[in-house]
């Protein structure tokens, strides 16, 4: 049994009386790719924000790589990273300048080599000297992914990593994530609305609704349990049921 890379227990978040995340517990074993599935407002982004320490929980405990995020956040952060459509990079800076600043923030010693390698892998080497703001959505997503891999994170959190990408770019991004997990044994937690993506990438799925985890399991096990052909049908079945 792998030791968990992410352990969450009794996690709650309330905003002015509204419950966004309601007493959830889960673990993600090291080296696994886990998906958070759920409709809009299910609590996926709020959960990821709390795992990152960007948002303080109302109650509950989060341990990442064995460390308590409340007390040891700055020991964990150098070993994790994230990418999200809700966070952007400075648009006037070139791609190279952005990556260079973040490489310094993460204390990476072989900055030039690391950036050159990621640029080649993610095919962003052709526009390293262009301002980030001048790039297309697909190019920006690849740059954001490069930023999130700069420090070779052991835990990678991604919020809708392929949202608004064309099928070709989305496929490349998924391929890169698979390769990264294979090469490094990293743990990846991603929130997604794309069921094909989840079926292809993920070992485990957590399905959220109304701030709670209403079901969990491997994609194949979930399909089997619900007797449905694909994960999208499972998702629709849960989303349209009264189960909370």
């Amino acid at each position: 049994m792998d030791a968990p890379a992410i352990e969450v227990s009794g996690l709650c978040k309330r905003f002015d009386g509204v419950i966004a995340v309601d007493d959830i517990d889960f673990t993600v074993p090291a080296g696994h790719i886990c998906a958070l599935l759920g409709g809009n407002g299910a609590g996926k982004t709020t959960t990821i924000s709390m795992l990152l320490g960007l948002l303080l929980p109302t109650s509950g405990e989060i341990r990442i790589l064995g460390m308590d995020m409340r007390r040891e956040r700055y020991r964990v952060l150098p070993r994790m990273n994230f990418s999200s459509p809700y966070a952007d990079l400075p648009r006037r800076l070139t791609v190279m300048q952005n990556l260079s600043v973040y490489a310094r923030l993460y204390g990476i010693r072989d900055r030039r080599r690391r950036i050159a390698r990621l640029a080649a892998e993610l095919e962003i080497d052709g526009f390293l000297d262009r301002p980030y703001g001048s790039l297309s959505a697909g190019q920006r997503t690849r740059v954001s992914l490069a930023k999130s891999l700069l420090n070779r994170p052991q835990v990678l959190l991604m919020d809708e990593p392929t949202a608004s990408l064309d099928p070709d770019t989305a496929d490349r991004v998924r391929g890169r994530l698979e390769a990264y997990r294979r090469e490094t044994g990293a743990t990846i937690l991603l929130a997604s609305h794309n069921m094909q993506e989840v079926e292809r990438l993920c070992d485990d799925v957590l399905i959220m609704k109304g701030g709670r985890i209403v079901d969990r399991g491997a994609p194949a096990a979930l399909r089997e349990r619900y007797g449905l052909a694909d994960l999208e049908q499972v998702f629709l079945d849960i989303a349209r049921s009264d189960r909370i």
Partner: protein
């Protein structure tokens, strides 16, 4: 030692980020120099006119030019902190920054450093132009200038951090505070006139501002030829309190932003 190096590296990374931003846009650099220069020119002409019609101004050579240059140190230092922080909000970059190992106080250190650089560029250029165009040298104040500069810069940083805290709390709708708040303070600082001119009930408020003591100190040097250390120490003591309050308010606002999920969702 390793921890100190890592901290220095992160502060340097943020400084580099702001220098890249300045370099990417010449209008930003021009704007830094433009307003202090325009202010200096306006008050230099006013000074010339009043010197011909007022014995007091004639005695105190270039007092208004010196005062406006020092006022701009305060104003630019405050803007240097708040406007640079707004850049992070405009670019929706706070989420990325605060999941990196960057500590909030390291960001504060970077903001203060870049504010110092921007103030030196802006006010320094205006001061050199005053020397060139009006033969007025603020550098003749010598070490007093260094003391005045830092007293005003620290007050500007403290107010800048409080403005940032307000914007973290209330969103970018409050960004106009960055420009408005300092002009509310200006009449109380006695930039161009002694504090005794103010109504009695306002004088204690004025004396609670470090800048008031700096401008009184400037007049003491220019008019009486005396460097008043008592005024300087009062300004330094008040600055210490202001800076502690500014940093504390910023850190509290940052914590509140983490409670209310603003770091990831605040932006354009």
């Amino acid at each position: 030692m390793t921890a100190i190096c890592a901290t220095a590296g992160r502060i340097y990374a943020m400084l580099l980020r702001y220098v890249y931003l300045m370099r990417s846009s010449w209008p930003r650099v021009l704007e830094m120099v433009y307003w202090p220069t325009m202010q200096m020119i306006l008050w230099a002409f006013t000074n010339q006119f009043l010197a011909e019609h007022s014995e007091w101004v004639a005695q105190a050579a270039g007092i208004f030019i010196g005062a406006i240059l020092l006022w701009d140190v305060l104003f630019r230092s405050q803007l240097g902190v708040s406007v640079v922080f707004f850049e992070e909000m405009y670019s929706r970059n706070l989420g990325h920054l605060f999941v990196s190992p960057l500590r909030p106080w390291e960001l504060v250190a970077a903001l203060l450093s870049i504010s110092l650089l921007r103030t030196l560029i802006g006010v320094g250029t205006a001061a050199l132009l005053a020397l060139l165009l009006y033969h007025y040298s603020i550098f003749a104040l010598g070490l007093a200038l260094v003391a005045f500069f830092f007293c005003l810069a620290v007050m500007g940083w403290a107010i800048g951090l409080m403005v940032v805290a307000m914007v973290l709390r209330y969103g970018l709708g409050a960004e106009s505070l960055a420009w408005a708040i300092i002009f509310a303070i200006m009449p109380l600082c006695g930039v161009f006139y002694p504090i005794e001119v103010l109504p009695h009930w306002l004088q204690p408020v004025a004396l609670a501002l470090p800048a008031s003591h700096v401008f009184e100190g400037l007049r003491a040097i220019v008019v009486e030829g005396v460097f008043r250390t008592d005024l300087l120490w009062r300004a330094v003591a008040l600055d210490g309190a202001y800076l502690i309050i500014g940093v504390t308010v910023f850190l509290l606002a940052f914590r509140a932003a983490r409670r209310r999920n603003l770091l990831l969702h605040m932006g354009e």
